[in-house]
Subunit: 331 residues, 2 copies
């Protein structure tokens, strides 16, 4: 990705919408499923199985990311990754992204170009064949990226949250808790606002760097979503708000209790329980023979008073609620 | 729509995300094409023709609407209508909407409920069978509604902007210029900001009221998109930025010139030429026998130096460019 010279990097308010769109579209490559790509009133994307999986998730400056911490590339990567994870969690393969971008007028053109690069790099790494197929560009004082991801099930049945049954194995694929640790490092060591302390990777240990990377550019196991569906997963979702909260949602949807083994949650089990944003895949399977990439972390049992048990004890609703947890004034 | 008593209308910052979502979802009804609706990681929507039309368009407080002028119902209606129009402009029938909502914490719950009502009322009126199939809720200081609309072509070929050929008829369906007149009335007679003059329909003539309604709750001819496709439209788009600008885009995409007849543009031809936001459908047809609802406004001719001619004279690029035309400071 060649970077733009500062002398050739106008603010978005000083260039036309057409110039910005041309700059973004010049970085777009066709998705495998694209029949009609960006540039018309709408895109046309193949849906060979006769139905389309569709999901939308938004990143807003403040609660979801900070420009002091995230580059344009990071932001594009993360906006793609979190949406690809929701498609994968249904058992589908991502086929295309639509990107609604609302940008402040004083943002630089290079930022938007890097954002487009980040979107495509995430698709290439996590969901090859998927790419940006359409979008929209508007002005806003708050930088906002709303992505819609589409996917195809390739003939398998969609895996919802409500299919878990007592006696089944609870399993995960992907990281749990690393992105939350990264957020802790960012909040603890750096600062935006009036007296900023910018992110400096040089002052971090390699483990801290990995955690910060997981927060800024998560790597959910997108390809394992369809693998789980083919292997007979009965319920699946991505862990975006922490295992405790999300396992509780699956338990409620399935009218079961999910009993987690602390010993199976790695060396930081409490962090895994509370930390979202890695977008691991949580799934239930009818037998102990799990597909590659998944590891057992518990059992589905008949519904008890509590949706989630942790070594047999009830676990409270830990996790992320943007209305409860984010305070712009303290941001 | 029963309205909420002020004593039972909390600010969004004082209630949980779950409460807000439940309140919105209780107003949701299934779209005809819904296989899996809201509540899981993603929705699953039928795509019987084996491909899905997809488009996204965002309304941002400031450049796209003002809370002083638009109710929650108006905003929901408009967010649906502008996206349904993009699906119709491909010749497709809308099958579902995904709604990414970013809301300030001091907004009232009733506003979001009315927004959900407006989304569904627009679907019922403009695209029966279509409804909200999924969404996302986040916090932002700037109220932002990003909608993605999906559609199915029902076996016909998608109609793009690039298929117009010399000798064909240029036609439109729907209003042109009325919404722009409404914006003029709003800017001229009312004011938000520090010394607001709230919208008062009683001081308006019936024609002014119709224009304001067209601006706040546009009524694009969604059902005529598939009608045009079946009738053999060679190119189509919705007029969102004014006929002059949008006809120029179609002319450029098709490498032709579009020659418009001033006399065919109604009693306010210049307003029709410059005014967008009615989301009329602009289409070209190979013969003079137009489908019901379309009226001829010109001819496609071989490419000249100018993309658009107006009674034989070149027409400049009139119309709406958010980067050029909107100034937050003056808003």
């Amino acid at each position: 990705m060649p970077s733009r010279a500062a002398s050739d990097d106008p603010r978005l308010g000083d260039v036309s919408e057409g110039t910005i769109l041309r700059s973004i579209l010049s970085r777009t490559k066709p998705a495998t499923a694209t029949i009609i790509g960006p540039g018309d009133d709408a895109a046309l994307i193949a849906a060979p199985s006769g139905a389309v999986v569709a999901t939308t998730d938004t990143l807003v400056h403040g609660p979801d990311f900070r420009l002091a911490w995230s580059s344009g590339f990071d932001l594009g990567w993360k906006a793609a990754a979190v949406n690809l994870a929701d498609v994968a969690a249904m058992g589908a393969t991502p086929t295309g992204l639509l990107v609604a971008l609302a940008v402040p007028r004083d943002l630089r053109l290079s930022f938007v170009e890097q954002l487009a690069d980040g979107l495509h790099a995430a698709c290439d790494a996590l969901a090859p064949g998927c790419a940006v197929v359409g979008g929209d560009l508007t002005v806003s004082d708050v930088l906002t990226v709303a992505v819609t991801a589409l996917g195809d099930l390739g003939g398998v049945r969609a895996v919802t949250r409500s299919g878990a049954r007592a006696g089944e194995v609870v399993a995960v694929a992907g990281e749990m808790g690393l992105a939350a640790q990264g957020l802790g490092v960012l909040f603890g060591r750096f600062r935006d606002g009036e007296t900023p302390i910018p992110v400096d990777a040089a002052v971090l240990t390699s483990q801290e760097r990995a955690a910060v990377d997981a927060q800024l550019r998560p790597v959910p196991p997108i390809g394992l979503g369809p693998v789980a569906a083919v292997a007979g997963a009965t319920a699946m979702m991505d862990v975006s708000d922490g295992l405790a909260l999300d396992a509780g949602r699956m338990a409620d949807a399935s009218d079961v209790t999910i009993s987690l083994d602390r010993a199976a949650l790695g060396i930081h089990p409490d962090r895994a329980l509370a930390g979202g944003e890695d977008h691991a895949l949580l799934a239930t399977f009818p037998s102990d023979s799990l597909p590659p990439g998944f590891r057992a972390i518990g059992r589905v049992i008949a519904r008890t008073e509590h949706p989630v048990l942790y070594d047999g004890e009830p676990v409270g609703p830990l996790g992320w609620d943007p209305y409860r947890d984010w305070d712009a004034a303290a941001g």
